[in-house]
């Protein structure tokens, strides 16, 4: 079993904040497939389309038959640890600061041997399971864990370096008014987040979940209006230095496409919240979090955006909202690039139509707040970058991957289903 993590002490403000360092992020283009799989929590390797040989390390040509057809596939992750070492000196500053560091050789049941990080509960000759994770450089790495879960295994120090577990971390949820906020807050509390800040705009104006939110333990409701640059800056001045996970669930959504509206009022409001809101938050909290990426057990670790899956392909019935979501998706990639230096992950949680008033006429399936909250926790614990919640979102991204153009045609076919 792993020693359980203990609540980190209150930070001494006189002690210098450790500057984030990173493992090497250099990879060949082929090797980036590991990161692409890790971003979704999948274990994928290249498998030769001609002879079936599983490749590792990633290659440009098959080591069995010289074919260059090497598609990435989900493969079995089971294996056995056959050798281990504990690195005690390293030429890389990141590892030098974190030694002793265990690595090992796992022989996969599907063939290749892999050098990987190894979990503290794994011993030589043990059955192991390999998971792909993103390290602090944002690149994909292989991590061997025991085949069967062990007590507190998520608290393993090496593992916690790769994940964004909310345990003992301080979280900001940006929009108390969103229907999903009570579910998000409860899930984070259940995951042992040590403090949950919740931003509340126009507190004089009541909203359905208000009483429930204010009644929760370990909650602090603070004024925040993401459409107001000064409000964002003021809150960041207050809690920017202790926000370990930021969850941006602020959203403005109205049905309708271009010709369904006579003006740009709602479209502007959608951009104001969904795009500029994210930008304001990023400009304020981004640098603060990036600077705290290596600040001990409760370092800044993740930025979560709740986002419509129609950011990927426009849903004509919500055409203008989709457009603002697409802008937000693009901005989130910019944010990911800029938080990279601090090892802070950007997790986008994509949903289809949600179970709320603005999607009321749509047929099921619709995504519940509880499902969004579960996926968010899964994404944080797995250190993921992309999570797709519910059947609509999963279906859409699969179609997008096959052909964005075909999907565009299919989305036209959905017009009118909600009216």
């Amino acid at each position: 079993m792993t020693d359980p993590l203990t609540q980190p002490p209150k930070k001494n403000p006189q002690i210098r904040t450790r500057v984030p360092t990173r493992p090497s992020h250099f990879r060949s283009r082929a090797a980036l497939g590991i990161a692409a799989a890790a971003a979704e929590g999948r274990f994928m390797l290249q498998v030769c389309a001609d002879c079936g040989v599983v490749q590792y390390p990633p290659r440009d040509a098959c080591c069995g038959c010289l074919s260059v057809e090497l598609p990435w596939q989900d493969v079995s992750s089971t294996g056995r640890l056959i050798a281990e070492t504990t690195v005690r000196t390293s030429t890389n500053t990141y590892f030098r600061e974190r030694t002793p560091w265990r690595v090992g050789t796992v022989r996969l049941a599907i063939g290749p041997s892999v050098i990987c990080h190894i979990h503290g509960d794994l011993a030589v000759d043990d059955e192991a399971r390999i998971v792909s994770l993103l390290d602090k450089s944002g690149q994909g790495v292989l991590f061997a864990v025991p085949a069967n879960a062990t007590a507190n295994m998520e608290d393993d120090p090496q593992m916690r370096e790769m994940t964004c577990d909310p345990k003992f971390r301080r979280v900001l949820i940006t929009d108390a008014r969103n229907e999903n906020t009570p579910a998000l807050a409860k899930a984070l509390a259940d995951a042992q987040a040590s403090m949950i800040f919740i931003g509340e705009a126009e507190s004089w104006r009541p909203y359905p979940g208000q009483q429930a939110i204010h009644a929760m333990a370990n909650i602090e409701v603070l004024p925040l209006d993401v459409t107001d640059t000064r409000s964002v800056a003021e809150l960041c001045g207050e809690i920017g230095g202790k926000t370990d996970i930021l969850i941006n669930n602020a959203r403005f959504v109205r049905p309708g496409g271009i010709t369904g509206r006579d003006d740009v009022v709602f479209a502007r409001e959608e951009m104001e919240v969904n795009y500029f809101g994210l930008l304001r938050l990023a400009q304020a909290f981004g640098p603060a979090m990036r600077g705290r990426g290596a600040d001990g057990d409760n370092s800044a670790v993740a930025w979560v955006n709740m986002m419509s899956v129609h950011a990927w392909s426009n849903s004509p019935d919500y055409g203008l909202f989709s457009a603002s979501s697409a802008a937000a998706l693009s901005l989130s990639q910019n944010l990911r690039a800029e938080l990279w230096g601090g090892g802070v992950r950007v997790l986008n949680v994509f949903t289809g139509p949600t179970e709320d008033e603005w999607h009321q006429p749509l047929p099921p399936p619709k995504v519940t707040p509880e499902a969004i909250a579960r996926s968010m926790i899964t994404g944080l614990r797995g250190g993921l970058e992309d999570v797709f919640v519910g059947d609509v979102a999963k279906d859409l991204i699969e179609r997008w991957r096959v052909s964005p153009k075909i999907l565009e045609r299919e989305m036209i076919e959905t017009m009118g289903t909600g009216s």
Partner: protein, 394 residues
């Protein structure tokens, strides 16, 4: 496709004029500077002028942005035969066997084989992080322990598989240190006890400080020419009895327990007409003692898994019953980058020609030198070996 054509012997081709430039821990000079010094030393010892060299092989990790080609202009050489041999610890054997064929076929008269590297304060880190694509993609991101971590995994596995102990590895290191004390150019100058070996600082378990070589700046060289040319200038020379080379052997082994020598060892001795017990001394590639053990096994001195017992049963010092790495090897003389792949071979040429001075094994005539190189990902890919015979100190 099976090999149907018999290999030619290296009759009439000899290795001469071994040169070693004393190593330094760190150097402000460039690799070119080190290589030039070794070349000059070797050429001068053969009473030749640079213009007499019409063939050249170069091995270096730190010549960048130059390669062997750039070096010809830098050094004012106009060879008609040129080879760049980036095989790390196997570059010495590879250089010699290529040069021998070039001279034998008449493509060149005299080939200078040189290896050298500088070692700036930050060289080691830079070399590690960009050593190879697989290392960059699949080993360096895992703790960045470099070769220490990779060989620690091999050592860990070897110990579990064959019951080798830290003392077994230590006996190799301690014996080599004793040899190094006779080599005035060795970087390590004080004796090493087994207690010191066992209690040394841990580097990457089970590897500790004295299992690791010290990166240094240095260069090594020798010449390959016709026997009659060596005789006419009165140069002591070593015959090339046989050579082998292999890359990426046994790719299906889940972890490295053997090198390519095992594939070719029968041919090595058959071509030479000699057997392991005929060797008066052995120079293995000793980047880590576990690799020494694999070579003792794969080159036929004992069976697989028997090297721990072998090193317990034999005395590996210059005066012992199994003289091994007589100059102290890289473990005690230092690892001068690619020149580490020349160190044992250059010492072997000295030994069989009776010119090893303070490290001379009395009456040595036959020597085996082996090379091992390039941890591309999880294992060393290049292996080679050579048997040299000289007339000793007659």
């Amino acid at each position: 496709m099976t090999i149907r054509h018999k290999r030619q012997a290296y009759d009439g081709i000899v290795a001469v004029s071994p040169a070693s430039v004393p190593y330094q821990r760190f150097s402000k000079e460039a690799a070119h500077w080190w290589i030039a010094r070794a070349l000059r030393q070797s050429i001068t010892a053969a009473a030749l002028m640079p213009g007499d060299i019409d063939g050249l092989t170069v091995s270096s990790f730190t010549l960048f942005p130059d390669s062997a080609v750039g070096l010809t202009q830098h050094l004012g050489l106009s060879p008609r035969w040129l080879d760049d041999i980036p095989m790390g610890g196997a570059c010495g054997v590879a250089a010699l066997r290529r040069a021998a064929r070039a001279v034998q076929s008449g493509d060149a008269n005299v080939v200078a084989c040189v290896a050298g590297d500088t070692n700036h304060v930050d060289s080691f880190r830079r070399t590690l992080s960009s050593f190879s694509r697989f290392a960059q993609d699949a080993s360096y991101p895992y703790g960045a322990g470099g070769p220490n971590a990779c060989f620690a995994l091999l050592t860990d596995h070897y110990m579990r598989q064959f019951g080798a102990t830290r003392e077994d590895f230590g006996s190799i290191c301690v014996a080599q240190r004793q040899n190094a004390l006779s080599n005035p150019h060795a970087v390590m100058k004080s004796p090493l006890t087994m207690d010191q070996y066992l209690s040394a600082r841990e580097i990457s378990d089970p590897i500790a400080l004295f299992d690791c070589v010290m990166p240094v700046a240095g260069a090594e060289a020798f010449l390959v020419m016709h026997e009659e040319d060596a005789q006419s200038t009165g140069l002591p020379y070593a015959h090339i009895r046989s050579t082998i080379e292999r890359h990426n052997a046994f790719p299906d082994d889940p972890i490295q327990m053997r090198g390519g020598w095992e594939m070719d060892v029968d041919e090595l001795y058959a071509m030479a007409g000699l057997k392991p017990s005929d060797m008066d001394l052995v120079q293995t590639y000793d980047d880590y003692p576990v690799i020494v053990m694999m070579q003792l096994e794969d080159l036929g001195f004992c069976g697989k898994g028997e090297a721990p017992a072998f090193v317990r049963a034999h005395n590996l010092t210059i005066g012992g019953d199994f003289p091994h790495n007589t100059s102290g090897g890289q473990l005690s003389a230092g690892q001068p980058g690619a020149a580490g792949g020349f160190l044992g071979l250059v010492e072997a040429i000295r030994q069989v020609t009776g010119k090893a001075g303070p490290t001379q094994v009395p009456g040595a005539r036959n020597a085996l030198a082996s090379g091992f190189g390039m941890i591309n990902y999880d294992r060393g890919l290049c292996s080679g070996a050579i048997i040299l015979s000289g007339s000793g100190d007659d």
